[in-house]
Symmetry: C2
Subunit: 180 residues, 2 copies
Amino acid sequence: MANKYNDTQNKITKESIFTALMILMEKKNFKNISITEVTQKAGVSRMAFYRNYNILEDIISVYLDEIFEEYSNLISNYTEADSYEFTYSFFSHFRKHQKLITNLINSDLNTLILEKSVKFLHSLCNSIACKNHCSIESKKYNNAFIAGGFYNVLMEWSKSGMKESDEAMAKMVYERLIMN
Amino acid sequence: MANKYNDTQNKITKESIFTALMILMEKKNFKNISITEVTQKAGVSRMAFYRNYNILEDIISVYLDEIFEEYSNLISNYTEADSYEFTYSFFSHFRKHQKLITNLINSDLNTLILEKSVKFLHSLCNSIACKNHCSIESKKYNNAFIAGGFYNVLMEWSKSGMKESDEAMAKMVYERLIMN
């Protein structure tokens, strides 16, 4: 019971810290933000920060991991990993995190998304694009191409305010993706 | 005649500055390098630096522009812009600049290559991939996908020491590229 309370409390603490960082990043570059500023804005102690993170960048890294885990759960419902739904879910899921992506772009931290995308595709490797007997190198570079493609489309889409619908984005990228 | 001499002299100055920066970047992060260090290492005056650049990052930006211009000249020989040669030339051309790419990765400046790739593909836009009557958005995001794909494959290839041959890389990426 106590553990459950602690877990819930810690989840709230992490959410407060993340929200505080996002508010600060809307006003200034990430590199000019201190841990003290974030904890003060979040209304939590520095000890609460260090219970969850070592450095400020961890807040973003952990949050991105959660986003990719949610995305992974979303697409696990589809048997065909390279299906249209896979692509559609990518855009509908990341639209929910538009503010974070914009903040990352403004602080030149957007490549963190690319790094996470590459890792994510590695874990999905066997189910996507390269189904036949192909070499490890071929899989590696095929994944690199797809991760880079998705990442850069997400960047361009975010920079133009995500004005195209999730469906329109999915359709355009899906047409490029369905080979192999 | 005087102009030609000046042009040649200035080209040598720029090459010295670039070479000096590369030597320094092999030892330390770009953000810890000063203009004074670069000009001293290059054996040129600060005035010579400011005749060509405003800030240190300009050295890399200008050099990347030249790399893409050379690449553009290379592929202008091929009538089919999305041909195998287009892809092969990409890898054989960038292999020549392996040290620069490694230095950029080590200083977290590699996204400069992605930015230049996106711009480059925009200028090539009408001849690649999207030949039919498709919307401006479709072209934009198709280019974004291809630029992101090539960029990320180049990064992964560089990180593993470019050990795969240009031909092997071209073959893997070309297979992904030839749709549409």
